[in-house]
C-alpha cells in the first residue's frame, strides 16, 4: 500500500514514525502510507487521520502530546524531518500545516530527544525537569495577600516589553531537543531575563540564577556551545540574547555569592 497515483486532490505521504512501547522498551521506526490528506489540515490533524486509519486496521495508534493546538501550551513536541517543531520558523508543531509539504513526500517523525527528557511512549517525552528548575527559583516570592497598588511601581515600557518577550516562552523544550549538547540555556535564560528585567525580580536575583543553574546541571542538561540551534527551533522566537543575560547574571551572582544559610532545604 505504498503512496500511489490515487491523489483525490490531497497529499499522499509516507511516514516513518518512531514507535516505542514505554520508557524501558527499545524504539524503532514504523512506516505508514497515508492518502488524500488536505493541505489545509494541520500536522497534528494529519496524525489524527493516521491514528483513525491505524485503529481501523486494528493497530495501536501513535501517542503524541498535544492540547491547545494553537501554539501556546507547549505540549506538542515532535521532531519532523530532523527539525524540532518542523521546518517553519517560530511555529510549534501544532501550528504547522500540511500545505508546507508536497504530494509524495516522505516524512520522519520522532520525539524530542535529550537525556533529561526520557521518552514515555512513542512521541511522548517527560519534560518535568523544567518544572524542577522553576521550583528552585523561577518565581517572585510573594504570598497572596494585599500587595501594594499595581501602579505603585512604574516600569519603563521598554523593560516591560523585553520582559514580555522572554516570558513568552512556552516551555516546550524544543531548544533542548535542537541543541547538539541538549542544553537548557534558552529556557532558563528566558525565565531569568523575564524576572531580572523587572523590579519585582530584584531582591532574589542572585539566589534565583544560582539555584536554577544548579538544578539545570543536576537534571543532566548539557553545556551551551554557542551553536544557536535553540533560537532557530524556538516556536516563540526567544532570542539568544537571553542566554547572554543568563551568563551575565550568573557571573555576577557567582562573584558576589555568600554561602547561603537556609538554602539547604532548597527554596
Amino acid at each position: 500500500m505504498s503512496g500511489g497515483h490515487d491523489n483525490h486532490g490531497g497529499l499522499n505521504l509516507t511516514l516513518h514514525v518512531w514507535r516505542q512501547k514505554n520508557r524501558e522498551a527499545e524504539g524503532h521506526f514504523e512506516t505508514y502510507s497515508l492518502h488524500g490528506i488536505s493541505e489545509h489540515c494541520s500536522f497534528l490533524e494529519m496524525l489524527d487521520q493516521l491514528n483513525e486509519q491505524l485503529l481501523r486496521e486494528g493497530r495501536e495508534p501513535v501517542a503524541f502530546d498535544h492540547d491547545c493546538r494553537e501554539g501556546i501550551c507547549g505540549s506538542c513536541s515532535l521532531v519532523i524531518n530532523g527539525q524540532a517543531h518542523g521546518p517553519d520558523r517560530e511555529t510549534a508543531t501544532c501550528q504547522l500545516h500540511m500545505r508546507r509539504f508536497h504530494d509524495g513526500e516522505t516524512i520522519y517523525i520522532e520525539p524530542f530527544r535529550a537525556k533529561a527528557f526520557p521518552i514515555v511512549r512513542d512521541l511522548v517525552c517527560d519534560r518535568s525537569a523544567f518544572d524542577r528548575i522553576i521550583a528552585r527559583g523561577g518565581f517572585v516570592s510573594v504570598n497572596t495577600g494585599s500587595p501594594q497598588d499595581a501602579n505603585a511601581i512604574p516600569i519603563p515600557k521598554e523593560n516591560a516589553d523585553l520582559a514580555m518577550d522572554a516570558a513568552a516562552c512556552i516551555g516546550c523544550g524544543a531548544c533542548v531537543a535542537a541543541c547538539p549538547n541538549a542544553a537548557a540555556m534558552l529556557f532558563v535564560g528566558a525565565k531569568i531575563s523575564h524576572l531580572s528585567l523587572l523590579p519585582q525580580g530584584q531582591p532574589e536575583r542572585r539566589r534565583r540564577v544560582l539555584a536554577m543553574v544548579e538544578q539545570m546541571d543536576k537534571e543532566g542538561f548539557g553545556n551551551c556551545g554557542n551553536i544557536y540551534e535553540c533560537e532557530a527551533a524556538c516556536p516563540k522566537g526567544i532570542s539568544v540574547e537571553n542566554i547572554a543575560r543568563l551568563n551575565k547574571e550568573y557571573l555576577g551572582a557567582s562573584l558576589t555569592a555568600r554561602p547561603e544559610k537556609e538554602s539547604a532545604g532548597g527554596f
Binding site: N22, R23, S38, H40, C41, L44, E45, D48, L55, G58, E60, D65, H66, D67, C68, R69, E70, G71, I72, C73, G74, S75, T91, Q95, H97, R121, R127, S128, D131, I134, A135, R136, G137, G138, F139, V140, S141, T144, G145, P147, Q148, A150, N151, P154, I155, P156, K157, A160, A163, M164, A167, A168, I170, G171, H194, L198, Q200, G265, G266, F267
Partner: protein
C-alpha cells in the same frame, strides 16, 4: 422526571448592604488556628488559573496541599490559551469605572441569572487580583510613562481590561504556576503530573478524596484528603469542536455530579463570535481570534445572496455592515451572543462568505487606513500571524473570515457562596462551577473569576469546612475508596472490551454536531426533543460499538478519550433537558419560542429567574434527574430587557 422537589440549596449568601457582604462574611467565617492548618490536607484537581492560584495560596497559608495535573506539567493547563485580557475595576483611565459598575455590568451582561452577592464580591476582589499579579512579575502591557495600559473589551464602555499582548492567560497562568512551584520547592505542595481524576470518593456524606489514573502506566490510584477542590475547567468540548484545549473535559465534575453534587444551569454555553471557520472534516478544534479585534475590525457580508466575488471586488455600497446597521450605538461591539447569532443568521440566509459560506468578514481595511499598519500590528500582530498561519490569508490585505464557535460554559457544578457544592467538603472553582456569569459571560471576566476563586475566595471560605465540621481521619483503606476504585476499574475494563467498530472521536464528532445544531445558539422545543432521542441512541451505540485498542496498563490515549466521551454523552443529555425546560431566551442562548416581534431575545423573569440545579436520580436508557430551583432576587440592579440598539 423533572418534578421540583424540596429545596436543598442554601446559597449561604450574606445579607445586609451589598458592598459590605463579603467583608461581613469573612469576619463571620470560622478561622482555622495557624498551628492546625498543616493538619488539614487539601486535594486540588486541575492546574488552570483557579487550581494553581488556589493551591499556591492554600499552601502559603500552611495547609498541606496535593495537586493532580493532567499534563506533564501544570503550566500547560487550558487557561494558558486565553488571549485578550482580564478585567479589574481599577479605574486607572479615570473613565468612570468602579466596583459598582463592574458589578452592575456583570449582572446585566449575565442577563440577570447570577447571584448579586457573588458578583459583587467578584468585582471587589478584581482590583486585588491585578495587584497580586503585578507583584508576581506578570508583564502586563504598559504605557510609555511606565503605568499599566488598559483597553475596552467585548462591549464594555469603560477601559478596564489589563492584558499582556495577546497572551494574557499565559502570563497569568505562569504567575500562578510559578507561585505554586515555589510551594512545591518548599515541600508544601505535592504535585502529581499526568494524573486524570476518574471518580470522587465520598465518606459519610463528605468528599474525602478521589480516584485517579496515572496516565503513563495506567495505574489506578487513591488520594485521600480533608477537602477536595475541583478546578477542572469547562465542558465546551461536549460540542467536539470548540476553542477549548483537547484535554478539557467534563469527567471530574460529571463523576462528582453522579456522586451527588448538583449541576447548575448545564445548558448555559457561550458561543464566541470571532473564531476561524471550519475548513474540513478533519477539523480537530477551533481557534479563537480574540474579540479585541472587534475594536478595530468591521464585520460585514455582501448585501446580496450568494455573492461569491472576492471581497476587494465588492464595492462599499454592496456591503452590509450588519452590526453597525442593526445596532447603531454598539456597532461591532455588541455582546458575544448577539454578534454570534447575527453571524449565523447571515450564513443561514445564504449571505455567508468563504468556501463553505459559513463565515462573515472581519475587515481591518479602514482601521489600517486610519491608524496605519504599524499601529494595528502592535495591537494585533500575533493574532494576525496566527490567522495567516492557519488560513494562508494575510489579514493586512484580505479581510479575515470568522464564524462563531463554542467557547465557554457558564454552567457547572452548583456551589454556594463559599464555593462549596452540595457535597460537603467538595469545593468547585473557576469555569467548573456554575459561576458568577449568569447566562452570559463578559469578555475578560473568566480569568478574573478563576483567580478570584483561587487567590481570594477559597483561602477564606475553606476554613468554615475545617473549623465548622468534625472530620475524622480517613485513609485510602476506607471501603469507600475500594468501592470507587472498583467502579473505575469496571468502567475502564468495559471500555476496553467492547471491541466495536467506531473510534471515540467518531462518536464525539456526531455528538458535537447534534449539540451544535440543536443545543447551540438558537434552540427550539422540536429540535431539543429530537436531540434527546439522538443522544440516547448514540449512548446505546457507544457502549456496543466503541473500539479502543491496547490495554489499561499503559499510556493509552484512545482509552482516555473514550472515558471522556462516555461522560460527555451523559452530560449532553442533561444539557438538552435543561435547555428544553428553560422556555425563555436569555443571555447566551436564544429560545426560538421566546422572542420579541423584532426577533430579539425575550427573557421571562416571571417564570425563570432561578438557577436550575439538577440532581442525578438514575441511569438507564433515559437518565433521570430532579430539578431544584434557587430563586434569584435582585436588590441592587433593576431587571431590564437588554437592549443594544
Amino acid at each position: 422526571m423533572t418534578t421540583p422537589t424540596t429545596p436543598i440549596l442554601d446559597s449561604k449568601c450574606p445579607t445586609g448592604p451589598m458592598s459590605e457582604r463579603w467583608s461581613k462574611h469573612r469576619f463571620e467565617l470560622k478561622l482555622v488556628n495557624p498551628a492546625n492548618k498543616r493538619k488539614f490536607h487539601v486535594l486540588v484537581v486541575g492546574t488552570g488559573l483557579a487550581g494553581a492560584s488556589a493551591a499556591a495560596s492554600l499552601a502559603e497559608l500552611g495547609y498541606k496541599v496535593t495537586v493532580l495535573c493532567i499534563h506533564d506539567t501544570p503550566r500547560r493547563a487550558h487557561s494558558i490559551a486565553a488571549q485578550g485580557g482580564i478585567n479589574g475595576a481599577k479605574n486607572y483611565p479615570n473613565d468612570g469605572d468602579s466596583v459598582r459598575r463592574l458589578f452592575y455590568d456583570t449582572v446585566k451582561g449575565g442577563d440577570y441569572r447570577a447571584r448579586e452577592s457573588n458578583v459583587h464580591r467578584l468585582a471587589e476582589v478584581s482590583t486585588s487580583i491585578i495587584d497580586q499579579c503585578v507583584a508576581q512579575g506578570v508583564p502586563f502591557a504598559r504605557e510609555y510613562g511606565g503605568l499599566l495600559d488598559n483597553r475596552s473589551f467585548g462591549g464594555a464602555q469603560v477601559s478596564r481590561t489589563f492584558y499582556a499582548r495577546g497572551q494574557t492567560g499565559q502570563q497569568l497562568l505562569l504567575g500562578a504556576y510559578q507561585s505554586m512551584m515555589r510551594q512545591v520547592g518548599l515541600g508544601k505542595i505535592t504535585l502529581h503530573a499526568r494524573r486524570e481524576m476518574l471518580d470522587l470518593v465520598v465518606v459519610d456524606g463528605v468528599a474525602r478524596g478521589v480516584i485517579a489514573r496515572e496516565l503513563t502506566t495506567g495505574a489506578i490510584e487513591r488520594y485521600a484528603a480533608d477537602a477536595v477542590l475541583l478546578a477542572t475547567g469547562g465542558y465546551g468540548n461536549v460540542f467536539f469542536l470548540s476553542t477549548n484545549a483537547k484535554f478539557s473535559n467534563t469527567t471530574a465534575i460529571w463523576r462528582a455530579h453522579k456522586r451527588g453534587a448538583l449541576f447548575g444551569n448545564p445548558c448555559f454555553t457561550q458561543i464566541h463570535p470571532t473564531c476561524i471557520p471550519v475548513s474540513g472534516s478533519y477539523q480537530s478544534k477551533l481557534t479563537l481570534m480574540s474579540e479585541s479585534l472587534r475594536n478595530d475590525g468591521r464585520v460585514w457580508v455582501p448585501k446580496s445572496k450568494g455573492d461569491r466575488r472576492s471581497p476587494d471586488l465588492i464595492p462599499e455600497a454592496e456591503r452590509d455592515y450588519y452590526l453597525e446597521r442593526i445596532y447603531p450605538s454598539f456597532g461591532n461591539l455588541v455582546p458575544r451572543d448577539i454578534a454570534s447569532r447575527r453571524a449565523k443568521e447571515m450564513a443561514d440566509a445564504g449571505r455567508g462568505v468563504g468556501e463553505s459560506g459559513m463565515a462573515v468578514y472581519l475587515d481591518f481595511r479602514d482601521a489600517i487606513a486610519r491608524d496605519g499598519a504599524a499601529r494595528i500590528r502592535e495591537r494585533y500582530g500575533n493574532l494576525f500571524q496566527m490567522y495567516e498561519r492557519i488560513t494562508a490569508d494575510d489579514p493586512y490585505k484580505v479581510p479575515m473570515r470568522i464564524y462563531p464557535a463554542v467557547h465557554y460554559t457558564m454552567g457547572g457544578l452548583w456551589v454556594d457562596y463559599n464555593l462549596e457544592s452540595t457535597i460537603p467538603g467538595l469545593f468547585v472553582l473557576g469555569e467548573a462551577n456554575f459561576s458568577d456569569h449568569g447566562a452570559n459571560r463578559l469578555g475578560a471576566s473568566a480569568l478574573m473569576q478563576g483567580l478570584a476563586d483561587g487567590y481570594f475566595v477559597i483561602p477564606a471560605t475553606i476554613g468554615s469546612h475545617f473549623a465548622g465540621r468534625k472530620l475524622g481521619a480517613v485513609s485510602t483503606d476506607h471501603p469507600s475508596f475500594a468501592a470507587a476504585e472498583r467502579d473505575v476499574q469496571g468502567r475502564v475494563g468495559k471500555l476496553l472490551s467492547i471491541d466495536g467498530k467506531r473510534s471515540a472521536d467518531d462518536f464525539h464528532r456526531e455528538l458535537g454536531l447534534v449539540m451544535w445544531n440543536q443545543c447551540g445558539m438558537a434552540r427550539s422545543e422540536k429540535g431539543l426533543k429530537s436531540a434527546l432521542a439522538t443522544i440516547r441512541g448514540l449512548r446505546a451505540e457507544f457502549w456496543q460499538n466503541l473500539r479502543v485498542l491496547g490495554s489499561g496498563e499503559e499510556l493509552n490515549r484512545e482509552l482516555e478519550k473514550a472515558g471522556r466521551v462516555a461522560d460527555f454523552i451523559e452530560l449532553a443529555e442533561l444539557m438538552v433537558i435543561d435547555a428544553e425546560h428553560r422556555r425563555e431566551s436569555c443571555g447566551g442562548h436564544f429560545r426560538e419560542e421566546s422572542q420579541t416581534p423584532e426577533g430579539e431575545a425575550l427573557r421571562d423573569d416571571a417564570n425563570y429567574a432561578y438557577v436550575a440545579a439538577w440532581q442525578h436520580a438514575g441511569d438507564g436508557p433515559a437518565m433521570s434527574w430532579n430539578l431544584h430551583k434557587e430563586p434569584l432576587t435582585f436588590e441592587e440592579v433593576k431587571l431590564t430587557q437588554r437592549s443594544y440598539k
